[in-house]
């Protein structure tokens, strides 16, 4: 199984997610530079968290226009699985692989804390190691995590079962519509989520609810 982590200027969770992938895969993923015109064929592409391009203009806007993203989009359209975490989720909405937009947190402050998430859809390559409706703990760390889409788009997300995970009642850290923490494409192959599973993948760091996201995708693709 070939996995790649795209590194944009200003990405800063690339190493963190590579560590989790390596633990699940048994070998290190490819670290792919944003400026490369092409990406080797991958089964899994990960867009990591961070502040690509400093979050300037709009979060993920300039990263979405990086040379390598053309290939990422093409591979996604050809069946590659794509996981976007935090800034990566923002890039996915900016490049059109997922609908909607991540806006500034309702409280207008950066928030870093654990959140309780509900797994709303557990038949994607990323979430099938969780039970349907399972509540897990994963931390968030963002200033622009407030998921927004117009009513038609929200309805479509619901009808097509594309809401992958929500914040537990009273635990929404950013005001996102319908408490959306993560969404996926209708076939579940592309997942974008604001919380950071790679920060909750070992007991020493407080808990390992996030580990099953990596074991799930590795199992699917191996």
């Amino acid at each position: 199984m070939q996995a790649a982590v795209i590194v944009f200027p200003g990405s800063n969770c690339d190493r963190d997610v590579a560590v989790c992938l390596e633990a699940a895969l048994g070998h290190a993923p490819l670290m792919a530079w944003h400026g490369d015109a092409s990406l080797p064929d991958c089964d899994l592409i990960v867009l990591p968290g961070g502040f690509s391009y400093g979050d300037y203009l709009r979060c993920g806007s300039m990263a979405a226009n990086s040379p390598i993203m053309r290939d990422v989009v093409a591979q996604a359209q050809n069946g590659a699985r794509v996981l976007g975490i935090c800034n990566g989720f923002q890039v996915l909405t900016e490049c059109g692989l997922l609908p909607g937009v991540l806006m500034q947190n309702k409280g207008l402050n950066f928030v870093c804390r654990n959140t309780h998430l509900i797994i709303e859809r557990n038949d994607t390559p990323f979430t099938h190691h969780y039970a349907q409706g399972e509540e897990i703990i994963i931390p968030v760390a963002h200033n622009e995590g407030n998921y927004f889409a117009d009513d038609d788009t929200l309805k479509k997300l619901q009808d097509e079962n594309c809401i992958a995970m929500t914040y537990a009642p009273d635990d929404n850290p950013n005001g996102a519509c319908l408490d959306i923490a993560g969404i996926c494409s209708p076939d579940g192959h592309v997942l974008g989520m604001m919380p950071h599973p790679e920060r909750r993948a070992e007991a020493a760091l407080g808990g390992d609810d996030g580990k099953r996201m990596f074991t799930a995708i590795v199992e699917t693709l191996s």
């Binding site: 806007s61 300039m62 900016e94 309702k106």
Partner: protein
């Protein structure tokens, strides 16, 4: 030529920053303030043949990068005097 692009949120999109500004103005004692919306202003110096090509170029820039047309509108002002 100098272009000035105003990027604003589409009406109906929640603007927490605008809301915060509205509240702060109220607290400062300004009466009669209605809704406040916050946008962005981008200034670009460009060399283009004529105003028409410049406008086309700028619109392309807005569509591709400068504005997120899911939630934002853009308005292009061009000053050919420079």
């Amino acid at each position: 030529m100098k272009a000035t692009i105003q990027i604003t949120l589409k009406s109906g999109v929640l603007d927490p920053q605008g809301k915060a500004i509205e509240n702060a103005l109220g607290q400062l004692g300004f009466d009669g303030i209605g809704e406040v919306r916050q946008g962005k202003l981008i200034e670009i110096d460009l060399q283009a043949g004529n105003a028409e090509t410049a406008r086309a170029q700028l619109a392309d820039m807005c569509e591709k990068l400068l504005a997120n047309t899911v939630i934002e509108n853009y308005d292009i002002q061009l000053d050919s005097a420079e």
